[in-house]
């Protein structure tokens, strides 16, 4: 089926008037003839304006040429047939139990993975997590209207987003045992806070110990504190660091850029891209957050001392410190499949979507080739006839 990407290009069809005008208005070739018996030629026939078309074949060719040019301007594309199969689709989200699915649906239909490109089940899937919600929307947009869709999803479905998926097609939502492959994340338990302190800032250590103790009260034995002097090197798996000393040495900076989170006090250096993390009651900034490569740097404006940081005495300091070190929590992407069954959208709303993602194939080069061939033919026909008229 042919579509036009730029239908306004068809306005060029108005140019079809031009060859008509050329072939109509072009004055008839009059032969000058001396004729003595002129007085008997009737005067009434003088305004001879026949609507006569000269060289109809040439005109036809020229019209065709212009029409094709207009079509070329309109950017025609062919709807690809690759998506266009008759069979209903069964789309399986990775992680779903295939055997359970087959036993519930049977073997009918065309089975494909819910993965980029919608490969068939034979294809090997990369183990990377898939954006399930986005793929569902893409599938809905690409699939021709009227096709029935069977969606097989594992019980624990990952790759969702905040928007509830809406599908224009009729679908079956079949939940089978299984679990979507998920990103490996740091386990919530067993956090370790490394502290490297200068001797004159050892007083601040108490506040940190109190904060970690508060964390452990909420979730028992989840955190440990490893306080050492500045010279002690960091272990390889360290994630959180509190640096109570002067400027950061180069190796610690490099560690931060590889994904570590370091709290530095005091740190007077202010970067332009710093976010204010904490403020006191008067609104004065107390802590800034900087991005450093893959990691973050949290700089305090003063020492860990209630005189400079009244925040230390607040009852929510432990929670604030935890949030600052942990960083923003990612949006939840995992849910129970039964709870996130897509909604059936109205067909009218979906029709806009369908125009976008279709597999389209342009055939401009072939059209241009045809046009140039027609142009050659037109030139040949035009000059041949003229030559014939002269002889």
């Amino acid at each position: 089926m042919m579509l036009l990407l730029a239908p306004l290009g068809l306005l060029a069809l108005f140019a079809l008037v031009i060859p008509f005008v050329l072939h109509l208005v072009r004055r008839q070739q009059l032969t000058d003839t001396e004729f003595a018996a002129l007085r008997w030629i009737s005067l009434r026939t003088q305004p001879q304006r026949h609507l006569r078309i000269e060289r109809p074949w040439l005109l036809l060719l020229r019209l065709l040429l212009l029409a094709l040019l207009a079509l070329l301007l309109a950017q025609p594309v062919l709807e690809s047939k690759s998506v266009d199969r008759d069979a209903d689709w069964v789309v399986v989200a990775p992680g779903a139990d295939l055997a359970a699915a087959r036993s519930r649906i049977g073997g009918a239909g065309e089975w494909r993975w819910l993965a980029p490109g919608f490969p068939s089940l034979d294809a090997q899937l990369a183990s990377a997590p898939t954006p399930t919600a986005s793929l569902l929307r893409e599938l809905d947009a690409q699939l021709p209207a009227g096709r029935k869709l069977t969606l097989v999803v594992p019980e624990q479905l990952d790759g969702l987003d905040g928007e509830r998926v809406q599908l224009a097609h009729a679908f079956d939502w079949i939940v089978v045992p299984g679990q979507s492959p998920a990103v490996a994340t740091m386990p919530a338990e067993k956090r370790q806070l490394f502290v490297r302190f200068d001797a004159d800032q050892a007083a601040g250590l108490d506040y940190l110990r109190a904060a970690v103790a508060a964390w452990n009260v909420r979730v028992p034995a989840c955190c440990t504190l490893d306080a050492q002097s500045l010279a002690t090197p960091l272990p390889a798996d360290a994630r959180w660091l509190v640096w109570l000393g002067a400027d950061l040495p180069a190796d610690v900076t490099a560690w931060v850029e590889q994904g570590g989170v370091a709290l530095v006090a005091p740190q007077a250096a202010k970067d332009g891209d710093a976010n204010v993390l904490w403020r006191d009651r008067g609104g004065t900034p107390l802590a800034y957050e900087h991005s450093r490569g893959a990691g973050r740097l949290i700089s305090l404006s003063g020492r860990l001392d209630p005189a400079q940081m009244p925040l230390l005495l607040d009852d929510d300091f432990a929670q604030r410190l935890f949030d600052a070190l942990r960083g923003p929590t990612p949006a939840p992407t995992r849910a129970s499949a039964a709870a996130v069954e897509p909604l059936h959208a109205a067909a009218a709303a979906a029709s806009d979507v369908r125009q976008v993602g279709r597999a389209l194939r342009a055939f401009d080069p072939w059209l241009a080739l045809l046009i140039s061939a027609l142009l050659l033919a037109e030139r040949w026909l035009a000059t041949r006839r003229r030559r014939g008229a002269r002889t």
């Binding site: 008839q28 070739q29 009059l30 032969t31 000058d32 003839t33 001396e34 004729f35 003595a36 018996a37 002129l38 007085r39 008997w40 030629i41 009737s42 005067l43 026939t45 003088q46 001879q48 026949h50």
Partner: protein, 296 residues
């Protein structure tokens, strides 16, 4: 000169033709025309010096005996027939056929005139010629003999067809020169009504007038196809027409005009012959000189 005007086979056919006037009876002279007063009327007019081409029997041998030179006796009225040839030399006579663009009506008119002169010469008649045109008209007074014929032929070969029909005063000059008993032959296409009026004036004055209408085959058949801009060579008018569309109408109107001319000629007692350029000239001559035409 006359040899280029008249093709040899045409010249051979001319022997069968003769010019006869319906008024020739009763006249006097040496001509071929029958006369009741035989031998009389040789009123001596003058002697003149012999010129090559004069008939030897007209030499006055007695005078030769006295003066040792040849003299010819000229009588006042040698022949009862003066042949006046009036040729239309207007621009419309330039018309030629598409099929034969070099042969113009005027060329054919010259040929026909030369033929008539040849016949008149053979019969011993006097002949005169005038061309009718507003530009450089030709007027050659009546004369006799091969010398006069050559003179006329030379003048004819120099003349061309151009201009319009002469004014009535110029017509009058010619008319005054033509004697009352003369036979007047007008060769024209008779497209201009003035040509017929001119002829009618002679006919009304009692002179015998014959008309030879010259037509081109294109005018008879109108074989044009496609768009044409027809230009009248005399008036310069033009008509832009699609030729096939007007053909039927033109042929009807042109035929009507020819029929009207024939009717008018008959009413005035003018013998009319029509010659189309693609026909052999002797047919027209025969028709023009036929007894039926003469006795009408």
């Amino acid at each position: 000169m006359s040899s280029t005007l008249i093709a040899p086979e045409l010249r051979a056919r001319l022997r069968e033709l003769r010019i006869s006037s319906r008024r020739s009876a009763g006249g006097d002279g040496l001509g071929q025309h029958s006369s009741r007063s035989r031998g009389a009327g040789l009123e001596f007019a003058q002697y003149r010096a012999y010129e090559p081409g004069d008939e030897p029997r007209r030499i006055d041998w007695k005078l030769y005996g006295r003066s040792d030179r040849f003299f010819v006796r000229e009588a006042e009225r040698d022949s009862p027939l003066d042949l006046w040839l009036l040729l239309d030399a207007t621009a419309s006579m330039r018309q030629a056929d598409k099929a034969q663009p070099t042969l113009r009506k005027f060329d054919r008119a010259c040929t026909l005139a030369a033929c008539l002169i040849e016949i008149a010469l053979r019969q011993g008649d006097r002949f005169a010629l005038a061309t009718l045109s507003s530009q450089s008209p030709l007027l050659i007074a009546p004369g006799r003999g091969a010398r006069h014929r050559d003179h006329v032929a030379l003048e004819l070969s120099r003349s061309t067809a151009e201009g319009n029909w002469p004014t009535s005063s110029a017509e009058g000059v010619i008319g005054a020169r033509i004697a009352a008993h003369a036979l007047v032959i007008v060769i024209s296409d008779f497209f201009d009504p003035a040509a017929f009026d001119f002829m009618r004036r002679f006919a009304g004055a009692g002179r015998e007038v014959r008309a030879l209408q010259l037509l081109a085959a294109d005018e008879r058949d109108f074989p044009f196809s496609g768009g044409h801009r027809f230009i009248d060579p005399e008036s310069g008018q033009e008509r832009r027409v699609d030729a096939p569309a007007v053909r039927k109408d033109f042929l009807a109107r042109f035929g009507e005009a020819r029929a009207a001319l024939a009717r008018d000629c008959t009413a005035l007692g003018i013998a009319l012959a029509t010659h189309v350029l693609d026909e052999p000239p002797e047919r027209a001559l025969r028709e023009l000189l036929s007894d039926a035409g003469a006795r009408r």
